[in-house]
Amino acid sequence: MSDERFVSIEGIAKRYPGPSGGSTTIFENLWLPIKRGEFCCVIGHSGCGKTTVLNILAGLDQPSEGAVIVDGQAIEGPSLDRAVIFQSHALLPWRSVLGNVAFAVSSKWRDWSAAKVRAHAQKFIDLVGLIGSEHKRPSELSGGMKQRVGIARALSITPKMMLMDEPFSALDALTRGTLQDEVRRICLETGQTTFMITHDVDEAIYLADKIILMTNGPGAVLAEILENPLPKDRARIDIHRHPHYYGLRNHIIDFLVSRSKSFTQTAKNHDPRNVPVVRPALPEPSVISEPAA
């Protein structure tokens, strides 16, 4: 299967029956290819259907039209190939940290012995830096630690793809920063293909290879795919000093503030099958004052 179109979203739409017989279109005609090993971030306002797109990718929801192909196969329901990291972490509160990860491991490899499951689960608990907390219940963990367990659980089944629905939005800024570092490190090390939803522009710039801008719903479309111009070895602490940083950031903010509302009216030749790929660069030097004479 081609790595260029490892994941291919092909013309999906989501419609709900309206109150007076008609139907409300949340989004329609969405086309998006995702490369193997790529980190994709979707940014858009609430209500544009980002979470629905993620749920369709996860197989938890079905599109009203269109299909999604992953690694050559159409999605027909939830699969162990695609791990989801939930916004609310969704840990089972009656199980320990180890129990939560082991639940995922034993779901994937049903014939494994208990010892083998434990050892495998432990490896991923170590990976997210939770050594020593294996036997704690989720209620004894901080929000950041809970989300680490969620990440460990998702990684432990060695999925082909990770789906993250605003995984850090419930965390404080410091914890969010460290977890972003962890996720970036793990994704780079393991070459995970990742699809993430976020509201946080800086998070998207730091983590994503491609940032997908989605217009406002109802009737949302994908407006642009931004290629991240920042170097692969970027670090969170000095990312804002990079010369491309503000160009990219301003472009996203401008989109969110004004263009996301007006895009569907103003962009007349927008082809949803070939969403324009934009690579924000340095602003061109321009003359700001003429010499006196």
Partner: protein, 279 residues
């Protein structure tokens, strides 16, 4: 000196009990006023008329009788004179049998109703109509069809214990957080495994609450049921002692009904604590 809250509460409890016992003792001391009457006539009259004794037994009478019962709880001197332990044993056995039958029936059915919106809607009218029926109203029908009074009492316990468990199980199963179900779905966990590893532990606290309500109702109903069916059991004992006009024994039976009810509730509360998880 600050002392722990439970110690202070215990002191207040004991003080209230003492106040109650002393009040009871004073209230039942006796009237004092006795009429002189011929010995023949006096033998026909009770102690109230001849010695001015209160018709209501005092705490000391009850205490003495209680000690007698505790000394020999399991004597059996024929159908109308059995030890309190035997009578309570019969009642507990009936309650447990009817209750366990209800658990076996209600929990799987509640699961079905909770997991299937179709069954939930389809069975709802039956549950709504059957639930408010007083369990004792079933008694004639049970006696007529089962033709055995003891089994009928067990049936009545079954029918009264059924509804809280059924409704709580259905509610607990239907209210399992969507995200936990989604976790199971994304992990491709099969239906049976999902029911046992996700839905059952998530719904267990609600199910146990229903079971706790049920055991309380079952213990309430057994007394009334045994008054009707007669023969054995603490309910029969109460009614029999009322016919004997032994208010002392009635009071003792009331005390034991309360004690056993409390113990049954506490056992279920312990089970409930075992399955409760902090979030």
């Amino acid at each position: 000196m600050p002392s722990s809250l439970s110690l202070r509460a215990a002191i207040v409890s004991v003080a209230l009990l003492l106040v109650f016992l002393i009040g009871w003792h004073i209230a039942t001391r006796g009237t004092g006023a006795t009429a002189t009457m011929s010995p023949e006539y006096a033998r026909l009259m009770g102690a109230t008329a001849t010695q001015g004794k209160s018709a209501m037994p005092g705490p000391l009478d009850v205490g003495a009788k209680l000690w007698e019962h505790i000394k020999s709880p399991f004597y059996d001197k024929g159908p109308n004179d059995k030890g309190l332990g035997i009578q309570l044993g019969y009642s507990i056995a009936r309650v447990l049998l009817g209750y366990l039958l209800a658990v076996v029936f209600a929990v799987p059915l509640g699961f079905l109703i909770g997991m299937s919106p179709l069954m939930s809607k389809a069975l709802d009218p039956f549950i709504q109509i059957l639930k408010p029926i007083s369990p004792l109203a079933w008694m004639p029908l049970a006696l007529y069809t089962i033709k055995d009074s003891s089994v009928s009492a067990i049936f009545v316990i079954f029918i009264c214990a059924l509804w809280p468990m059924l409704i709580n199980t259905a509610f607990g199963v239907a209210a399992v957080r969507k995200e936990w179900i989604n976790v199971a779905r994304t992990l491709e966990v099969g239906n049976v495994r999902r029911a046992f590893t996700v839905i059952l532990p998530a719904a267990a606290p609600t199910i146990l609450t229903g079971m706790r309500i049920s055991i309380g109702i079952a213990w309430l109903v057994i007394v009334a049921a045994e008054m009707l069916v007669g023969g054995t059991g603490i309910g029969y004992f109460v009614w029999n002692e009322w016919n004997n006009l032994s208010i002392t024994n009635v009071i003792i039976a009331i005390l034991f009904i309360g004690l056993i009810g409390m113990i049954l509730d506490q056992i279920l509360a312990r089970f409930a604590r075992m399955v409760t998880f902090p979030e």
